[in-house]
Assembly symmetry: D2
Homo-oligomer: 338 residues x 4
């Protein structure tokens, strides 16, 4: 950490501050410039609170020069993490497509979609049982029943299931879920993250609409600090001034997150743009940028979808897309499950 | 709702769509333009899902022309809501200052700060018992003990207490809290909002960092749909490209929220800028823009604050600020509690 | 400037870099931490290019700890600049209202509006002769004729005129303009700024839609580096994700710009929100935050305005607003011209 | 265009408005809803000014449902535009790499870089002669001399040259430039765009940092309205809250711009991220998303680059990258010049 001191400070205040740092095992090494004096702090500065330092009366500013996350940091874990979901692997060169409808609506719907996407090459099935909806008057998901229906889809296809949790109090219902998803709106629901850290199940952690990559990694750190190292990061678009797309897919997040962290990174092109014809070009771009997987919404009847229709593909469209995905993943040297 | 149709669509598909709308009690009235045909939908369109309509194959786009919130909408409730907290009122011309430290740290700290801000003119005391912190390694609040200490502050000063809830499972600890705060990161924690809707306590709902005013009102609607009409909206800065301030205070949100809704609107200048010397000009601006109250952080020892130091005032600074606040509130025709 | 070095660098590369800095009169003082070595650079680092330093192969990052602007910096010019426009003053406690239509349309229009706003208390008249319009098919302004009509308005009311320049090649037409405005879209038209630096006329410099406060000050620096110290800064809203208002008025920019710089700061509430009923609350907020002036659009016939109608006030509405502005300016201790 | 009327309006005002529209050849077809009446406007609504309509006293809101650009609109020009630069083609399946240093610094530098990138497979050489720099104290480019040096590079390699114009008054110097670039900061310098519309040379138009895709297309429309149809669009990153990258590459802009318009779209991965190791993954993503070309910065001595070092590749790095670009372009079915 680098601390920039105000001009014309009293020596005794500086001495006090240096002593206070020293009491915490931090050595402060000053450099006097023409106008400004800076302190280089040496020691375990990760435990110092940046805001506390900035609040000291003689301090003009303080800048952290090391990342505040440890478990998620590639510097300390150079090798790619491979998350294991049953026999499936994701990360470390293993690429997977997760697919299914936005919401689970009925057994017929979820098993049919699961069957179709499985035949096309998806290897995990997703579907929302608990749905975060902006309006209290909109369909909120089938909840417990939705999870039961996902089990039916798993029985039919053999695919592991991925579904979103919205509250720690619902976790008992997720005992037999294979991958628990944390949605963008809950990325900083820290109480929920702590509970997920106690599990050993894979967690699919979606980036919040207005959260930086560092914040995403800090939320992963919450889960990992509890001992659960099976975190999959997901880029799904950020909120910007542009309105032609629902969100702006931050494609740079793929290589950057993989540089900063050893965790697998998947991309959700369906939610990023919110437009079904854009799923193909964004999927291609995501793989080309180095993604370890994709989450693609498929619905068997978009006209009557109870949520999020415009971004869904039909099973027929998905059938056309998958060969292109496989071909691009192969071109980029990725392995897909058979 | 206005539906814009694609060009060159088949008549039978259009007939089907109009029939499907009719089945739901909605009449579609077409207008043919040179290039485009639009449908004006007549009926209770609030129950239609915008995304479902957009997903229909013959639809190019659909635009909602009425607000999707009802209970929070000034059109249906023209008079200002006055939220009652014990004998205090907020809204409808009544202005209040809520003050206290970011985190509750000790009985001495919270009672001393409460005493000082009460003497200066604050009429509600705030302090964080549960703290949402980006880092799992940072201080997470005294939790249950922090709420006990707030009770001690209330006993000493008589001021109602305001504190943040981070999970529905903690709500039993909040039974004797006067105003429950929902933080920016939980503004779309819909499961929590639903639980708060079952209470009849005042809820202070902070706008999320990247949430629109409409989304804030929809989150208020979640609480109100449960029957709890005692919602206070709080503008606390949004996330933009500007880095000179921590967030960008959206001052326009004050008049706009008060135009769209009848609920009281307070401003948090401490978190908006994240800089203690800016609390004064932003407080003045907020009152001038029509705010019904302010939330101002005060700490008795910023150097040793366990969280969020740089934005806090000292009690002495607060003593200097309050007369200016009172004078500006009076200038704007607001009543403050004695 | 602080330079953070990569880990495990070769000593000879470090020696070369330190020598290269030394050749430019900069001394590098190293501080070795546990994981990282930093260099504190001492000397006139303003002339170092940050990107050049970052490009050095052994450098991880470099951080400038002093502002890159000099003439505009309050550290070097502690007293408020008072810009003189004929007998009028702006800044240093002097507050002015600049008013008029978005576009100059006819002599009758501009003289009538000028007369009305002058009677209500505005002391400078504005009107667009050259209009930056998003569409090539929209009205582009009366251009040279528009400036002539502004002269007519000045003759009738005695008010100095403010109008926008869009190209350095048009400057000969601005010889008899009192204040030259640089619009948001041209804030970083550096060739234009250099030409304005050669004049000694007051320049009203609007902040770009996506420009930081530091960039605004650097654009002011371009003008001042040429010797023209008469720069008035203008906050007019920034582009964010929020769509309820056309732009987001960054009210914090008022106190922050005045802290960083000695230049006067005015606010344009008409363009910030793009909604005429919001001009009043945003004007009040701007004055309360410390602004030195306001630019308010007034049009005598909003229905037939050739540009930017929805944000304009009628002369009658302006008559109602001005007493509130005068009262708030007086409350904040500002002087207005008689 | 759809016009939403206010509630409870007077019939005579509505009649007047409908008559005023009729006078302009626009028919207004009303649809009465439960709470709201809308007017569907039929006729050539492109000439109506949206803001003028919104300013009408009985109007609540107005929404344009057709794109405001014509020449750039794919609806009216379904086939891809192929821009011809000498014998080179870009667009319509033809893919080109434009490469060279950020700034032209010396004959040795620009000819050596041009020679290296030409050998590696670039077919156009770029280099800045006029440099838009945030600071007036930074290197501003060699200007006229820089253009001379680009001619030398063209003589040596046979490659057409691409360089940026910053002011219409400099255009005489660009007579022998093959492609004129408009930088992000000048995307809405409408006076410059009009002058470029008078030429018949290809124009490379970069998207502004905070400009929407529609605004980019409107700026292209300015050039095309003058008769110059040779416009190449360039996505180079937008400004968002994320700070891990300098800008956020809006990868969705590639397929969206190609859907909305027939113009070729190239991507600048060097400026988008501002980080040299990210040029490769972002280049791959851009091609996969459908881009028609790339602009990649290459510098022969990044340590001593006079501008924008951290984003440049060395010629050796470019040699390694080009086979990957060629391979991906071929995978996506694009033709590159020999």
């Amino acid at each position: 950490m680098v601390v920039i001191l105000k001009n014309n400070i009293q020596q005794d205040k500086l001495d006090n501050f240096i002593q206070w740092l020293s009491d915490q095992g931090i050595e402060a090494r000053p450099t006097k410039g023409l106008h400004t004096t800076i302190l280089g702090l040496v020691g375990d500065t990760a435990k110092l609170d940046l805001d506390t330092i900035k609040a000291v009366s003689i301090v003009e500013d303080a800048i952290r020069i090391q990342e505040p996350y440890k478990n998620a940091n590639r510097k300390f874990h150079p090798l790619d993490t491979v998350v294991q979901i049953g026999e499936l692997k994701i990360g470390g060169g293993n690429f997977q497509v997760i697919s299914g409808p936005c919401s689970v609506e009925s057994e017929a719907q979820i098993t049919e979609v699961a069957d179709r996407v499985h035949k096309a090459g998806a290897r995990l099935v997703r579907g929302g049982a608990f749905k975060p909806r902006t309006s209290p008057y909109a369909f909120q998901g089938l909840r417990a029943e939705g999870i039961e229906l996902l089990h039916a889809a798993r029985r039919k296809t053999g695919m592991p299931i991925v579904t979103e949790v919205m509250s720690a109090s619902h976790l008992p219902l997720f005992e037999d879920v294979d991958v628990i998803q944390v949605g963008a709106r809950n990325m900083q629901n820290f109480e929920l993250l702590k509970e997920l850290g106690k599990l050993r199940k894979p967690i699919l952690l979606k980036r919040g609409l207005a959260n930086t990559m560092e914040e995403l990694l800090m939320s992963a750190e919450y889960i990992m600090a509890g001992g659960n190292m099976n975190v999959i990061l997901c880029e799904r678009g950020i909120r910007t001034f542009e309105t032609a797309t629902r969100n702006t897919l931050d494609i740079s997040a793929v290589p950057m997150l993989k540089k900063l962290s050893h965790l697998p990174v998947v991309v959700d092109p369906s939610h990023a743009a919110g437009i079904n014809w854009m799923v193909e070009p964004l999927s291609m771009a995501a793989i080309a940028a180095g993604a370890d997987g994709l989450i693609i919404e498929v619905h068997n009847d978009p006209q009557h979808a109870l949520s999020d229709g415009p971004q869904s593909l039909t099973p027929d469209q998905f059938d056309e897309l998958m060969p292109k995905i496989k071909s691009m993943a192969s071109f980029m040297g990725k392995k897909m499950a058979d």
